[in-house]
Amino acid sequence: MYTFSNRLKIASFILMAVGLLGIAAGFISMPSTVEDAKAIVASHDGGHGEHATTEEHAKDNHGEAAHVEGHDSKHDEHLLHQLQNKPWAALYVAAFFFFMIALGVLAFYAIQRAAQAGWSPLLFRVMEGITAYLAPGGLIVFVILVASVAHMNHLFVWMDADVVAHDKLLQGKAGYLNGTFFLIRAAIFLGGWIAYRTISRKLSLAQDEADDNSNFVKNFRWSAGFLVFYLVTESMMSWDWIMSVDPHWFSTLFGWYVFASMFVSGITVIAMVTIYLKSKGHLEDVNDSHIHDLAKFMFGISIFWTYLWFAQFMLIWYANIPEEVTYFITRIEDYNLPFFGMVAMNFIFPLLLLMNSDYKRVNWFVIMAGVVILAGHYLDIFNMIMPATVGDQWSIGVSEISSVLFFAGLFIFVVFRALTTAPLQPKRNPFIGESKHFHY
C-alpha cells in the first residue's frame, strides 16, 4: 500500500493556499467601473508600452470602423467587461485543464480495458487514482458554468440576452445554446463520465478478491460502452464548454482537437505519476518498457494533436472566409507568442526530444518532456478561451498562475489520496502476468 507522504501533502496544501490567495487577489483587483478599467490599462501602457493604443484597440475589437461617434464609451465598456472576465477566465482555463487531464486518463483507461491490453494492467491503479479527480474537478467546472448561466461572469457571450436580441445568428442557435439546455447537457456529460469511473473502479477492486473473471468481463463491457458515450459527449462538451465562447465560429473537427489535447496531457500525467511512484520504491514490476510505451504515446499523440491543429488552421487560412478566419487573426495578432509558442512546445519539442527510442526509456527525460507538453497544452486551452473572453487584455499574471497553482495542488491532493486507498498492483487481473513480463 502506498502512503501519501507528508511532504507531498504539505506541498499540495501550500499550492492550494497560495493559489487561493492569488485567485482572491485577482477577483479583488477586478475593476468595477469604466474609470477603473481605463486606469488599469493606462498604467500598463505607461509601464510596458507594449499594448496598442486605444484607437487600435477599437479597430481590433469591433472590426466595424464605421461608427466613430459613441465609439469610445462603447469601447471602454467592452474593456471593462474584458477585465472583469479576466479572473474568471483564468479560473476556468485552469479548472478545465486539470479536469481534462483526468478525463483524458479515463479515456485512455477505457481503451486499455476495451482492447484487453496486456501491457498496461500494472498501471491501472495509477490511472484509477488520477481519474479520482474527475468528480471534484468536474464539479468545480460545473459550478463555474452555473455561475456563467447565472450571469456572475460573461465568459459566454451568447448567455447575454441583450447580445442575442441584436444577433440573428445567435437567435438561430438559441434552441441549442440556451442556459437551461446547456446545464442539462453538462450534467449528463459529467454524470455519465463519473458513473463509468465509479463502476469501473468498483469492478476493478472487486476483481482483486474474486475467484473468477466475471468482474473483469463486466468491466470490459462497461468500458466498451463508455467509449461510445464518451466519443459523442466529449465532442459535444468541446462545443459547449469551449467552442461556444466564440459562438459565431465553428470547426467540425474541434471535438477531435480537444480530445487530442486531453489525451496527450492525460498520458503524460500517467507517465509522470508512475515515474514518481517508482522513484519512491513502489510499482516494482513496472519496468522501462512500460515507460517506453507511455512515452511512445506521448510522442505519437503530440503529432496527432499537431495534425489536427494544422488541419483546422490550414483549411480556414486557405479558404479565408471572413467569419471563420477572424478566429485565427485575433490569435495571430493578439496572441502571437502563446499561439506559436504552443506549437513549438506541443510539436517540435516532443518531436525532437522523444524521437530517439533510447530517450523514451530515460525517466528524467520523459519527465522533462512531460513538463513542456503539459505547459504547452495549458497554453492550448488558454488560446481557446482567452481571445473570446478577455481579448487583447490577456496576460499570464497573478490570476492565471494562482489558478494553475490552486488546481495543481487540488489535483495532487485528490490523486495521491486516491492512490492510498487500494494496493498499487492489481492482484487478480487476468493479464497481470503478461504485464509483468512486458518487454520491448
Binding site: 494544422f310 490550414m314 487560412w317 486557405y318 479565408n320 524521437m355 527510442s357 518487454h439
Partner: protein, 173 residues
Amino acid sequence: MASKVIHALYNDDDILMLAVKKVKAAKHHIEEVYCPFPVHGLDKAMGLAPTRIAITAFIYGCIGLAVATVMMNFIMIQDWPQDIGGKPSFSYLENMPAFVPIMFELTVFFAAHLMVITFYMRSKLWPFKQAENPDVRTTDDLFLMEIEIHDNEEELLALLADTGAVEINISEK
C-alpha cells in the same frame, strides 16, 4: 568451401526464443534464424548489433523535407507565381501553410522508400532473387536455427536435442 551446418527446427516462437537463449548461453555462434514471421526480441536474444536504420531514416526524412522545400519554392514562388485564393505567391514563408502537406508527404516518401532500398542493399536482396532459405517449411509454420559445426557435432546435437527442437538435421552448406 563447404562447411557443415546443423539445422534445428522448432514449431513455436516461444520455444525458439528459449532455445536461442540457451545456445547463446552455451557460447555457440548462431549463424542465422529463419522464421515465418518476425519474432519480437529475437535480434536481442541472438546478440545482433542494434539496427542503424533509424538513423538513416532520420537522414532520409531530412532530405525529403529539403527536396520538398526547394521544389515548392522553385515551382510555386520562383518559376511561375500564381495568385491562389487571394494569396499571391511572393514569398515561401507567407505561403508555407499551403506547402506543409507536400513537405510532410515527401518527408515520409523519402524516408520510407530509401529505407526499403537501404534494407534491400544491406541484406543483399533484389527483385527476382532466388530464396536462400534452407528449408521451405520456414515459410509456413516452422522456425529454423542454423549453427555452424566446428568439430563439435556431438556437443551441439546434445544441446539442441535438449531445447525442444522438433527436428535436427545436419547438412553441407
